[in-house]
């Protein structure tokens, strides 16, 4: 079953004759429960693609359908709620709030939605990510790898339809990168989450189920690794 589908997605920055085609007709299908790595050099358009998938930016043409919903038709406030309930984000620079504790950071998306926290699920996530003894700490007292683990937990807590990770290991050394990616992959499988990760690191992409290579705003190669 496809949880995400784009057809002929284009994004053009600027106007002719100076237009830059960041995305040039991307048609992509992402299967429920899979772990997809989008690989490409910087400037290939992979970040733009991820922003489109998450409804952070509006495409110039084409469509994005997430979990049966067409994103282009949604208004601003609807899109905000959509993102809150359906999409988990993991960023390169973690984007944790420094004045909240680790626990508060993780449950923030659930609280923003005015819902109760599924304590059992929370404990499970914290256990798998090894965060149980750090819940009362502030994020800036943690190492980079630990901060990214907090961000992973925050992405998982709402049980989103899809988790989008934008260079999740960009700020980490190679050893921690491997660990974080392994963890991302393992938690994705454990909690049956669909993940899309963008990276420029080929070596990191090998843990994914599928690698999609983007060059000049087009899909250059797409293959299943399993």
């Amino acid at each position: 079953m496809n949880i995400l589908q784009t057809s002929n997605l284009t994004k053009v920055y600027g106007e002719e004759p100076f237009a830059v085609r960041a995305l040039d007709g991307i048609t992509l299908e992402i299967e429920q429960g899979s772990f997809t790595a989008i690989v490409g050099t910087s400037g290939s358009g992979k970040s733009t693609l991820l922003h489109m998938l998450g409804g952070l930016d509006t495409p110039t043409g084409g469509s994005v359908v997430v979990d049966g919903q067409e994103l282009c038709g949604l208004g601003r406030s609807e899109l905000t709620i959509f993102r809150r309930r359906k999409i988990g984000f993991i960023f390169q620079n973690y984007n944790l709030l420094p004045n909240l504790t680790v626990y508060d950071n993780i449950v923030l998306p659930v609280e923003l939605d005015g819902r109760r926290i599924d304590r059992q699920y929370f404990d499970e996530i914290a256990g798998v990510l090894g965060l149980e003894d750090k819940l009362k700490r502030r994020p800036n007292k943690l190492s980079g790898g630990q901060q990214q683990r907090v961000a992973i937990a925050r992405a998982l807590i709402t049980k989103p339809a899809i988790i989008l990770a934008d260079e999740p290991t960009g700020n980490l050394d190679s050893r921690t990168s491997q660990e974080v990616i392994g963890l991302l992959c393992a938690t994705g499988k454990k909690f049956h989450q669909t993940m899309v990760m963008i990276t420029h690191n080929e070596k990191i992409a090998q843990v994914a189920d599928r690698a999609v290579r983007i060059e000049d705003g087009r899909i250059a190669e797409s293959r299943w690794l399993l």
């Binding site: 429920q32 429960g33 979990d67 949604l74 709620i81 309930r85 491997q178 393992a186």
Partner: protein, 343 residues
């Protein structure tokens, strides 16, 4: 902002209700009985009391209606979800109904996925069985063929010996094949239960190395282990040593004589890494993922014995324990397999 306002409204409502329901009637009746009995005043109080009662009933009916409407909406949506229809009316709104309906849809998705997954598992098992049948067929038909030749009474003595040897080899292959298939199918069908314990990695490594040390000696391969004996990881000793042995077995197989194998155990933040480096022929980057597939044999390795199950089983064992395997290799210089076990 919206939420704050809604919450404020709720709170105000609550206080108003509290005042109206309890405090005012109480105050009213108190006044009624403590005042000097003047009939006019008493009537006024009585009227006020009745008024509050009416208001109270009004509130009650209003909120009851709201609640009934909410329940009906949720029920209607639940029925719609059961019919597998999506209308999108209740999506992405900041209302209680939208919240409940979206949760219901999520639940339906999760249950649907679970069903699809179990069906996939069934299909996978079917595929395994047919693959097993296919793999067993070749040596079996070889045995039969040589047996037929042997039953010919005019066969020369030297040939007889040779054919007997071939049959023995084929039977060995069959035995090896069936052993590995049993192992892999057990993993596949979740028949094994891993018994995880926080044991010493060094001891597990020892078991694995013992399994291949003879083969390595024969090829004069030097094995160096760098592992602190105190490093522990949560793992199943029996299966993990099997996984490590499979990787070591490959390392020995593809490393030429007088080569080197180096094992490092490194403790990380979340995982313990078991790094196995060899000086073998290496793997091309485009085959990094193929080598873990079942029955995959690299074209250049097809003449060596093996089935293409070792790494597949190893990966399954490690993944089942919450770990993962990564590979890095330079063609002609050697390969490096890293097994990550959760700390």
């Amino acid at each position: 902002m919206d939420r704050n306002r809604a919450e404020l409204r709720m709170r105000v409502c609550k206080y108003v209700l509290l005042t109206v329901n309890i405090l005012l009637p109480a105050a009213g009746s108190l006044l009624l009985f403590t005042q000097t009995p003047k009939s006019r005043e008493r009537t006024v109080f009585l009227i006020i009391l009745l008024l509050f009662c009416a208001l109270d009933i009004g509130y009650f009916l209003y909120f009851r209606k709201r609640f009934v409407m909410f329940s009906e909406e949720v029920c209607r949506n639940a029925e719609r979800i059961m019919r597998n229809e999506r209308d999108g009316i209740q999506l992405n709104k900041d209302t209680l109904t939208s919240k409940v309906v979206m949760e219901l849809e999520k639940m339906e998705d999760i249950l649907g996925n679970r069903l699809a997954e179990s069906e996939q598992g069934k299909a996978k098992l079917q595929k395994t069985i047919s693959e097993i049948a296919h793999q067993v067929k070749t040596p079996l038909s070889n045995v039969r063929m040589y047996h037929d030749i042997l039953s010919d009474p005019d066969i020369a003595g030297g040939d007889k010996e040779r054919f007997m040897e071939i049959i023995r080899q084929q039977l060995e292959k069959l035995e090896f094949l069936i052993d590995s298939l049993i192992k892999s199918s057990r993993l596949e069908s979740d028949m094994i239960k891993l018994s995880m314990e926080n044991g010493s990695v060094f001891d597990t490594l020892g078991i694995s190395v013992n399994g291949i040390v003879q083969k390595a000696d024969r090829k004069k391969i030097d094995i160096a282990i760098h592992c602190h004996p105190m490093i522990k990881a949560a793992h199943d000793v029996k299966w993990t040593s099997e996984a490590i042995e499979n990787i070591l077995d490959n390392a020995v197989k593809y490393t030429p004589e007088r080569g080197k194998i180096r094992i490092d155990v490194i403790r990380g933040e979340m995982y313990v890494e078991i790094k196995i480096q060899d000086t073998g022929k290496g793997i091309a980057a485009e085959h990094y993922n193929d080598i873990f597939k079942r029955f995959y044999r690299e074209p250049s390795a097809s003449k060596d014995e093996g089935l293409g199950l070792g790494l597949y089983i190893a990966r399954n064992i490690i993944t089942l324990q919450g770990g993962y395997i990564m590979v890095h290799s330079v063609l002609g210089q050697g390969s490096c397999f890293s097994l990550f076990l959760p700390d």
